[in-house]
């Protein structure tokens, strides 16, 4: 039986390892996801640094061609499947979503823990295969290269991706049900924080798209194992069919990666400008619209692959239709700042960085959607730069905004604000040096997944300079990221104790104690009476009577009653 008392919270009510590994508390599961995806990000990030070092000069620098091919494959697979897909829904979504809903937990807590372990098992397969078996297919596993003569470890990777797909499906399913069925009284759909809207939209994509990668992996597995002849042209199969199957998942998967970022940006920008997000309804519903439209654009990855011209044209057009709502969101966020009260703390600095970088990623996406221009840019570094601006400049930067924003709530500690701002500057500058040069490299013709460019130095003399600059930038970027790791870790032991509501935010998690209590979020059901960003109505938190910081612990009905008779027993 867990201990209870005024200083007991979800972190310290039971400190045994077992209590963590077997917990069904969404907050602890969220933290475990945070650790797991951070490890994956660190590992995949170190691999990226190795790739950059290899490319700093033409010729062999630090590794052989085969090693290089395995390293970029491992980088891609880990970043996509182990890090960026589970990162925000798994870590922040798990922690924040039920509290923002005013629920005691997600709808299926045991399923939630199961998804975490399924994810770990899947990743163990992937990692094992990549380390033992020399997989060098790239993360896209295009047939017939992947199904052909190469290493049999591809079999193990497909099993790993298949398994981790279940984790993604179950997490999405859990969140959809939780949002539908467990909202607090008064928390109507148009009062939902935009973070919830975006996680909800993400979950729809997870549930609808992931089964398709599942069956694709099954077919690829059987193709490799017994040669069923569906994808392998030598046996009468069609490699383009594989690409259709693969991108039918992997394009929507891009929205699994970026939609949660939109939610974080919306929440943080509202809090740090004290204004409701401009065009709330548009921002909320366009996330859901993007989730569905995202299923209709997969063919834009295949403009040069041999699909018909008609389908290429249709895919290009729909790609634009999906681009517009995304662009309008950016304008809405900037519009939110108009006549706001802008507080330049670390989370807000990341939001500004996001708006800058994601806009570049978006505009270059428009360029890649132009059919004839894409012919030139397809499979070059331009594409590499584009998706790093969207995924890293978008999702990772937004993730950092979210981590810095919710860190006090999660750990009960404040990090060093000054170091936070310096690190953000390093990341912003390093990122642009690393990846902006890659736009130029790509439009100059540098193909992606190239181990070497020594053979073309006579005809393409800029490549060496540009690659070198990009590599130097990656070191600045890495320095910034390691700083973040350092001061966040340090804050756990040496950080100042965080107040309940350090940012003066209005959503439910901030009107609660810090850290969150154990075992349940709410002893009494909160009742919601206004929108998530209605600062003009929040008189009790700040305004004439308040101190401008707001401290939810002073709102009486939300203080958990910890007297033993009231607290719910463990199941």
């Amino acid at each position: 039986m867990a201990a209870h008392g005024p200083n007991v919270n979800y972190l310290n009510h039971d400190k045994s390892i077992k209590s963590w590994l077997t917990t069904v508390d969404h907050k602890r599961i969220g933290l475990m996801y945070l650790v797991a995806v951070s490890v994956a990000f660190l590992a995949a990030g170190v691999l990226a640094l190795l790739v950059r070092v290899e490319l700093i000069a033409p010729g062999q620098t630090i590794m052989s061609a085969d090693t290089y091919n395995q390293v970029f494959t491992l980088h891609g697979v880990l970043m996509v499947f182990a890090f960026i897909i589970p990162a925000i829904p798994g870590a922040l979504g798990n922690f924040i979503l039920p509290i923002q809903l005013g629920a005691k937990d997600v709808a299926f807590p045991r399923l939630n823990l199961a998804s975490f372990y399924i994810y770990l098992i899947g990743m163990a397969f992937v990692l094992g295969a990549l380390l033992i078996g020399e997989v060098d297919t790239g993360w896209t596993f295009y047939t017939p290269y992947s199904s052909g003569e190469g290493s049999n470890a591809v079999l193990m990777v497909t099993v790993g991706v298949f398994i981790s797909g279940f984790a993604s499906i179950l997490t999405g399913l859990n969140f959809i049900v939780t949002v539908h069925k467990m909202r607090a009284p008064g928390l109507t759909w148009n009062r939902l924080p935009l973070f919830i809207w975006s996680i909800y939209a993400t979950s729809i994509v997870q549930v609808l798209a992931t089964p398709v990668i599942g069956i694709t992996m099954v077919l690829l597995f059987l193709e490799k194992l017994t040669g069923i002849g569906i994808f392998d042209p030598a046996l009468g199969g069609d490699p383009i069919l594989f690409q259709h199957f693969f991108w039918f998942y992997s394009h929507p998967a891009v929205y699994i990666m970026i939609l949660p970022a939109f939610g974080i940006i919306s929440d943080v920008i509202a809090v740090f400008t004290r204004r409701p997000v401009q065009g709330y309804t548009f921002v909320a519903l366009s996330s859901v619209a993007i989730a569905f439209l995202g299923f209709l654009v997969w063919g834009h990855h295949m403009f040069t692959s041999g699909q018909s011209a008609v389908s290429a044209i249709v895919f290009s057009l729909i790609t634009y239709l999906i681009g517009i709502p995304t662009g309008v969101k950016v304008l809405n966020w900037v519009g939110t700042m108009y006549r706001g009260s802008i507080w330049l703390k670390t989370p807000m600095i990341y939001v500004l960085a996001f708006l800058f970088l994601f806009s570049i990623g978006g505009f270059t996406g428009i360029m890649l959607g132009v059919l004839s221009v894409d012919i030139h840019l397809h499979d070059t570094y331009f594409v590499v730069a584009h998706f790093h601006y969207v995924m890293m400049g978008g999702t990772v930067i937004a993730g950092l905004a979210g981590i810095h924003y919710w860190w006090p709530k999660m750990t009960g500690r404040m990090y060093n604000e000054r170091l936070g701002q310096i690190a953000a500057a390093f990341i912003f500058v390093g990122f642009n040096i690393t990846f902006f040069t890659q736009f130029v490299l790509g439009s100059q013709g540098m193909p992606r997944r190239y181990y070497d460019y020594v053979g073309v130095m006579d005809t393409m003399p800029y490549f060496e300079t540009l690659h070198a600059i990009s590599t130097y930038g990656s070191w600045v970027l890495a320095l910034g990221l390691f700083m973040v790791l350092g001061y966040l870790m340090a804050s756990i032991w040496t950080g100042k104790k965080a107040p309940a509501n350090p940012w003066g935010a209005l959503t439910l998690e901030w009107t609660h104690t810090t850290p969150m209590p154990d075992p349940h979020n709410f002893t009494f059901q909160p009742i919601v009476t206004r929108g998530p960003y209605d600062y003009h109505l929040a008189d009790e938190i700040f305004g004439d009577g308040g101190d401008g910081m707001g401290d939810g612990a002073t709102v009486p009905s939300l203080v958990p009653d910890t007297s033993p008779g009231v607290t719910t027993p463990q199941p």
Partner: protein
Amino acid sequence: MSTTTAPTTAPAAEGHAEHHHPPHLKHYFVSSEQQFDASKMGMWLFLLTEVLLFSGMFVAYIVYRAWHPEVFVKMSELLNPFWGGFNTIVLLGSSFSAALAIHYAQKNDNKKLIINLCITLMCAGIFMVVKYIEYTDKFSHGIGMGEFFDPTGSYAQYAIPYAKQFFSIYFVMTGIHGVHVVIGMGIFTWLLVRAVKGHFNSEYYTPVELAGLYWHLVDIIWIFLFPLLYLI
């Protein structure tokens, strides 16, 4: 967001203190209805993912059939519509008994619930036995998947281009469907054990209902597979 209510009017979890707490109600739900609705919605979403899993295979089927219709017509000669039809009826029967199981759980008739769970299990078993006979017959004639497709004897005339693709699709689709039937048998066995222990009644029959939903899906997928593979 805030709350304007005093603790005394908050309706949430004070049920514990008042001892109105049914044993099946999880602490994080407000009421049995909420719990039931949530479970049911979760199941429907799960079934949606199952449909999408199979739709990937149906797309592969459609693509290859569109490219080589004559091969598909010829190959379906090798599949026996009698046994396929028999299995269809068996599965339909088991779906009916699964529905009856839910009905009797709602009526608090534990005995009939147990009988119907047994019938469902039995039908699933018959289905798998027929499937086993069909598979071994294919294998004995050298009709397998991928590199194991090497028809011998009287079947040698079927070794035409893209025959392999037909049987790859046949084995993948019916194989994954068969896996679902086996999983369903596991679930119904578990339900049977719980039913014997008397866990289900008119207030709590969620697992029976959800297993029934799952079983109907397995049935419906077979209803698509049967004509596509055996008949046309």
